[in-house]
């Protein structure tokens, strides 16, 4: 850098409007949610300080504890199902033939649709009386998938996979294109086949993307909400009441905003913790310099 002067450089003021706007709707609320979690508030009037009351109640609440386990279960299942599919599709789509471009364009469609539209669509497709299960009894039995615990959880995982695999595919596609060709050429000279090349070159080279994609999946999985609201309403019983949905119920159905805030805070803490652990375990933080190619 030749000039360290500030001549011709934008001042801090350029960043202020956006920072204030964003701070007001994202950071202030994040602080406020901490405060609200120690209050009693039914949505009318002002919140009143209640100490640890919400937290005490929540930790004794079996639905709350279950909802947290369920959130983790949905997240783990989501990661386990989506990761292999999107790596394989992404690596495949990184090739250059024409049909790949067309297919990738089609694969991308679910990502464009709102979660609402996707959930409504799948609910109609899986309707036990009028949907596909009524035609494919060999596969679905009597077909009320959403009426049993395992089926409902399976559908939630499947619908998220259906919608978000394109995003992760795209991440892997970009990363797979960036793998230096030389590595494959060298491997071919050494006589390594497609499968060995995939496991010894492609996968290790995708490491950064795997972590990025998994963190997105974890945060997304823990906060799954729209699909639960539309597809299962947390049921049967409370079998699919995950924390995000329980928070919504507590707040906007039972008007217990203090408890809702506590659940929200808990969710943020769990999501942050899981992400941090993943970053540490994978050594992602030490690889920073190689991935900040910008």
């Amino acid at each position: 850098m030749t000039s360290s002067s500030t001549v011709g450089r934008p001042g801090f003021a350029w960043a202020v409007p956006a920072a204030v706007f964003f701070g007001l709707f994202a950071l202030v609320p994040l602080l406020l949610v901490v405060v609200l979690s120690f209050t009693r508030w039914n949505g009318i009037g002002s919140p009143r300080f209640a100490g640890l009351e919400n937290w005490d109640k929540l930790l004794d609440d079996p639905v709350m504890v279950n909802s947290l386990w369920l959130s983790l279960l949905l997240t783990v299942l989501g990661v386990v199902v989506q990761t292999p599919i999107s790596i394989l599709l992404g690596v495949w789509a990184a090739g250059h033939q024409r049909n790949r471009a067309v297919l990738s364009a089609i694969y991308f469609v679910p990502l464009l649709l709102s979660i609402t539209a996707v959930s409504v669509l799948w609910r109609a497709v899986l309707d036990p009386n009028f949907g596909v299960p009524s035609q494919a009894t060999w596969l679905f039995g009597d077909g009320n998938l959403l009426g049993v615990r395992a089926g409902a959880i399976g559908v939630l995982v499947f619908v998220s996979t259906w919608q978000f695999t394109p995003l992760h595919t795209l991440i892997y596609q970009g990363a797979a294109r960036a793998v230096p060709r030389v590595l494959y050429q060298a491997a071919q000279i050494d006589g390594a086949g497609t499968v060995r090349q995939f496991f010894h070159i492609t996968l290790p080279q995708l490491r950064n993307s795997i972590v990025t994609s998994m963190i997105l999946m974890v945060v997304g999985g823990l906060t799954t909400f729209d699909t639960v609201l539309i597809l299962t309403q947390g049921g049967p019983g409370t079998d699919t009441t995950n924390s995000a949905y329980y928070m919504y119920q507590k707040g906007f159905k039972s008007f217990d905003f203090g408890a809702a805030s506590a659940i929200a805070l808990l969710l943020v803490l769990v999501a942050t913790l899981v992400s941090l652990v993943m970053v540490r375990l994978t050594g992602y933080d030490k690889m920073r310099s190689t991935m900040e190619g910008v």
Binding site: G8, F21, V294
Partner: protein
């Protein structure tokens, strides 16, 4: 690369095409038949008599209004993002000050904050501001939550503007403002179109903020209309699916024309 075709991968990708395509097919054919035909022939059959009644009925049941509301929300969200984010990205890229660095880290942190985490306080703030059950009440938080990703995309693009160009303009005595609108903005066109596409998608598909922040029929957006429709007429599947198709039509049109901008933007989010 490899000359030998990879049959296994080819097969897998066809399986996935089936998984993606089948529900879209079911949806489309269902919308063009009557409720009785759909129930009688099952979801996989092709319509015997082609009808557009489902679409017409949906539009007459309020979806026209929901469309208008969603367009208003989307335009306002995009407007706010496009006015506020480019100066921010410019400052982040060109200002070395500590304060700007902190602001950038704040936005990076914001990437990880799910909207559910703050929905109760946002509801509180919007309510206190007297904006509950108004379109502007949806616009403000939606725009705010589009900002981190937009900032990330745009700073990435602006960093690619070569330093020599900045130097040259600075030597000519150009002010930051002139550099911004004569150099930075023209060279960031691709990034700008990406954030336009991206934030309009966010606004168009938004669910949680409208769900929690609006109530009355005249302020319903498309996703809310869809949600209510499902609760009220869940059994009329052709009409319901026609509403789903209507809700996604504009997005698919945008996708046809702006696929490149959208895909690049999303790749940039995850790939870097």
């Amino acid at each position: 690369m490899r000359a030998r075709p990879n049959y296994l991968a080819g097969f897998g990708s066809l399986v996935w095409l089936f998984v993606v395509g089948l529900p879209l097919y079911v949806m489309l054919v269902a919308t063009f038949q009557t409720r009785a035909d759909y129930a009688g022939n099952g979801p996989l059959s092709f319509p015997e008599r082609f009808t557009l009644d489902n679409y017409v009925n949906d539009l007459s049941e309020g979806f026209g209004q929901y469309f208008l509301n969603t367009v208003i929300v989307t335009v306002c969200v995009v407007g706010i993002v496009v006015v506020l984010v480019p100066p921010l990205a410019y400052a982040i890229v060109r200002n070395d000050g500590k304060a700007t660095g902190r602001v950038f880290r704040m936005f990076l942190l914001g990437l990880a904050v799910p909207s559910q985490a703050v929905i109760v306080p946002v509801f509180y703030l919007i309510d206190q501001a007297g904006l509950y059950d108004s379109l502007i009440g949806i616009v403000l938080p939606t725009a705010a939550f589009s900002m981190p990703v937009s900032a990330l995309i745009l700073t990435g693009v602006m960093r690619d503007v070569s330093p020599e160009l900045y130097e040259a303009m600075t030597l000519d005595g150009a002010s930051p403002w002139r550099i911004f609108h004569q150099l930075v903005l023209p060279l960031s066109k691709s990034g700008l179109s990406t954030i336009v596409v991206f934030s309009s998608l966010q606004a168009w598909n938004g669910f949680l903020f409208p769900l929690v922040l609006t109530q009355s029929a005249e302020n319903k957006v498309v996703t809310m209309g869809l949600y209510d429709f499902q609760t009220e007429h869940g059994v009329d599947i052709p009409a319901l699916l026609a509403a789903v198709v209507l809700s996604m039509l504009p997005v698919l049109l945008v996708y046809l024309f702006a696929r490149r901008a959208l895909v690049q933007g999303l790749m940039g989010v995850g790939g870097k």
